[in-house]
Amino acid sequence: MSQFSRRDLLRAGLSAAAGLATRGSMLGMLGGGLASAAQAATGDYKALVCVFLYGGNDGYNVLVPTDSARYQTYKTTRSSLALPTSGLLQLSNAAQGSSSLSYGVPTTMPGLQSLYSRGRLAFVANVGTLVAPTTKADFQAKRNLPPQLFSHNDQQGCWMATQSDAAQRTGWAGRLSELMGSVNANRELSMNVSIGSSNYWQTGPQSMPYVLGQNGVVQFKATLDGRASQRSAVFNQMLAQAQTPTAFYTADVTARSMSLGAEVGQALSQVPAFSTTYPSSTLSSQLQLVAKMIAARSSLSMSRQVFFVSLGGFDTHDGQSGAQPGLLSQVSQAMSAFDANMEELGLGQQVTTFTASDFGRSLTSNGDGSDHGWGNVQWVSGGAVAGGRVYGSFPNQAVGSSDDAGGGRMIPTTSVEQYGATLLRWFGAAEDDIHTVFPNLDRFASSDLGFV
């Protein structure tokens, strides 16, 4: 859409309605919804929730091999970072079949252990950013590697955008929403909702996610005082007079924040209290807010939603043994509470939560921490998950193994595209749309890992 038609739309909306409530959100829906996705049937609802662990979570200290051969390798490679067997909770082997391989999670994550044993949580081993299937020889020859491996912002970008179009800075959830956003009757509110700040994952070619504050909607004080009605007419004229791209973007976000803030704030205020209790933490309050948005789905007329929550602090170059357990405990508690909350709402089968992070970390130690790595362990939870299993290929953790790019940086054996495509297929994306979102998908063996 050209700048002029977008501006004209804004102006038309403003002058016709003398307000912003009826204006379609440029940032949310207008760029998309043109594909063939049909209106979802009443009662049909699904949500995907991404828990992004900023900084690069050390996932190989979340899922630890406990069978004796592999534990010895783990212990040798991880050295001062290795968790002792007394620091691990054994995962049930029941769903894994006859395998002699076994795993544990840290004692700070009993919630994950419980979800796993109840078949509501699966791990995906050694997933990461890939251009194509990559061997150690490929890595050493610098063949087909994602740009700027081991750099935080670049690898976050690769996870969120997937490699092929990182340069365009659009994310796979953003692209998806423009392909299937029209399933939602609400044309104002984006399919994509982020808590706290924006992100590339939910940024599409023409759309930005709707962002909620950490505690919900932030209302404009200037819309609540005695002069608000006279002022808002002038304010809206002022927004419509924006002349430069920067001013126009500011006007657009401001207008959306006002109109959607009123609508979403109203819907959230009518959500009955949950009986599920959440511990007090940053991540818990974000997931609780997501739960409220989900509970408000009918009044917001949403049938497909994609949420983004995040927690920082995982860049554990030093003091890892002191810092990571608290963070992991927070993640485990928050994800457990959220899972219980979805069950309470009767939506256990309809909401799937998954983790992502910048990159994995070096298995080797720099004394009291780990450095930037590549392949990582992620986990997926919810009633629809075929849980109690480890998917993907768990790497050989020996330094110098065929999985080791150096220093215990694991070369991924499952791509973000495969991980994402599995989630999007469950979400209801059409096969064509999945391949549009992930143009490199066919380079990899399977586009359905089967964990959900």
Binding site: S197, P205, Y210, Q243, T246, F248, T254, G312, H317, G407
Partner: protein, 546 residues
């Protein structure tokens, strides 16, 4: 008089006449709009007092005078003399926050403080690392801020060394207590500082041309500036530094007020080859190796364009032309006296460049989005804000408001700052190949929170309101109230100081119609003034500093 000098600027089309216009403008004292534009680029926001002084000077003489000015406003000293927590007698994070606001609003050496703030977004440390909550941590952050203030017009090489050896950076990017490798345990050197030092503080990820553009390989792909091997070697160079105590890795006490100390026993003495193939010979001391590495990286050809472009973005315009970057980088590389990294010369080149002066007339995308922090400093400088109580300048509100407006000094989420230099939101900006870093904070709650902070400063926290909070920084409305009954005069002043004389005629007439509808007889113009301030500061046009 003003128009005679100002109008031709908009009419000339050729570069030659623009250059001539630039030269004649540079030789003349600044017009009020020119002075306001420079003040908005180079200070924490134009106000009347600074403008009155600036219009007696040429742009160059203003910059020169600011470069030699020493306000003596240092954060550590200011914290200690005025802003200790009255109940504990210590400097804490509240003290630090309030000190930052006080210095930034009132220091006479505004350019120095403003450049230090820009540098704080490149050489990032953040109080969000919980170690800074310990005793001494807040004062240490003040001291770190002072490193940036003291070296804002010094040499970038010196600044790099001060930052690298500061215990604050040592803590923040874990170079502190980075031990030499140990083959028996498999321990490697910590790569954190080595990587971010190259990626964010000096070289950047890819090889650059002088004009800041990427060098491309035969396939048109940007060429990485360094390898993982380079990171690992530099990490080994950066071993052997710890707290300034008698023994290694001993944080008792946490010596936040001392630079890190070298421990040769914990330094990797093997030879290293760092970026560019530079050899650091074996058996050098901890200090010798560090100096060799800093010298070598400082000489890397990327540093000039990399640092220059970011400073241009943080002061003048988000999308400088390649030629503008090249002109400034040339000065970075050699200030004309064979000095590399002369920051005074670099800042002067940035602010006096023809594009900084004429860009607004030439290019609709010239300029930058104003971030929440600089909108708030501008409001309070305009309104001569006061602490609620002159004998106790320890103000909680200046700390707590940071959650509200979404940005606080030395409080980014990570070393990647509040926003990234290449951020572009979806839509027109990104589609045009432009960036708008500060707009990363322009989100639904971000817009509302920052405008609410402005709202509170205008409608609640003003000095003459009965019941104004005793812990609030108070706006003083008196000066502007005097002209509030005259809408044209009021808008002319806001146009000049907020919009550098560029307020759009439609916006001005929209505001005038509304403001004239607000009677001034019963409240002496208070409501009209408040409406004028709030709407001007919240207008999309103000968001785009040009």
């Amino acid at each position: 008089m003003i128009k005679a000098r100002f109008l031709p600027r908009f009419l000339v089309a050729s570069f030659l006449s623009i250059a001539m216009s630039w030269q004649s403008a540079m030789a003349a004292t600044m017009t009020p709009p020119e002075a306001a534009r420079l003040l908005n680029q180079a200070t924490f926001g134009a106000n009347q007092a600074d403008l009155d002084k600036a219009i007696t000077m040429t742009a160059e003489s203003w910059v020169d005078q600011q470069i030699v000015a020493s306000g003596g406003w240092f954060h550590q000293n200011s914290c200690n003399t005025s802003n200790k927590n009255p109940s504990t007698g210590k400097v804490d994070l509240y003290s630090r926050a309030y000190t930052w606001w006080r210095v930034s609003l009132y220091a006479p050496d505004q350019l120095r403080q403003r450049v230090a703030y820009a540098l704080s977004q490149i050489l990032v440390v953040s109080e969000k690392n919980s170690l800074f909550s310990n005793d001494g941590g807040a004062e240490g952050l003040c001291m770190y801020n002072d490193i940036l203030v003291r070296n804002a017009f010094g040499n970038y090489r010196t600044l790099l060394e001060k930052v690298t050896l500061s215990s604050q950076m040592g803590v923040y990017l874990s170079m502190l207590s980075n031990d030499k490798p140990d083959a028996t345990t498999g321990r490697r050197a910590d790569e954190n500082y080595a990587r971010e030092f190259m990626q964010l503080f000096t070289i950047g990820l890819t090889k650059l041309n002088l004009d800041g553009s990427n060098q491309l390989d035969a396939n048109g792909v940007p060429i990485p500036a360094y390898t993982q091997d380079d990171v690992e070697n530099l990490a080994r160079v950066f071993t052997g530094w710890s707290w300034a105590n008698s023994s290694w890795a001993n944080g008792n006490p946490l010596q936040f007020l001392q630079p890190m100390k070298a421990f040769d026993d914990h330094h990797d003495k093997n030879a290293k080859i760092i970026v560019g193939g530079v050899s650091i010979p074996a058996n050098g001391s901890t200090t010798q190796d560090l100096k060799l590495a800093l010298d070598a990286i400082f000489r890397h050809p990327n540093v000039g364009p990399f640092v220059s472009k970011q400073l241009i973005q943080k002061l003048v315009t988000s999308n400088p032309s390649p030629a503008y970057v090249a002109r400034v980088a040339t000065i970075f590389n050699n200030d004309g006296k064979n000095v590399r990294g002369n920051m005074a010369a670099v800042i002067k080149a940035i602010l006096l460049d023809p594009e900084a002066v004429n860009g607004v007339a030439e290019n609709p995308n010239f300029g930058k989005a104003r971030e929440p922090l600089l909108r708030q400093t501008h409001l309070w400088r305009l309104l001569k804000a006061l602490p609620a109580s002159s004998d106790n300048r320890y103000q909680y509100n200046s700390y707590n408001m940071n959650a509200e407006q979404g940005q606080a000094p030395l409080a980014a989420d990570s070393v990647f700052n509040f926003y990234q230099p290449d951020y572009a939101p979806a839509g027109e900006i990104r589609d045009s190949g432009l960036v708008a870093p500060e707009l990363q904070l322009t989100t639904d709650p971000g817009v509302a929170g920052a405008l609410n902070r402005i709202y509170v400063s205008i409608y609640y926290d003003y000095s003459t309101r009965s019941g104004v909070s005793t812990t609030a920084i108070r706006s003083v409305l008196t000066d502007l109230l005097a002209i509030a009954p005259n809408t044209d005069q009021l808008l002319a002043k806001l146009d000049l100081l907020l919009f550098s004389g560029q307020m759009d005629a439609t916006l001005k007439s929209t505001l005038a119609t509304y403001l004239n509808s607000i009677p001034t007889s019963s409240d002496k113009g208070l409501a009209r003034l408040q409406e004028a301030l709030y709407l001007s500061f919240s207008s999309p046009q103000y968001m785009h500093q040009r």
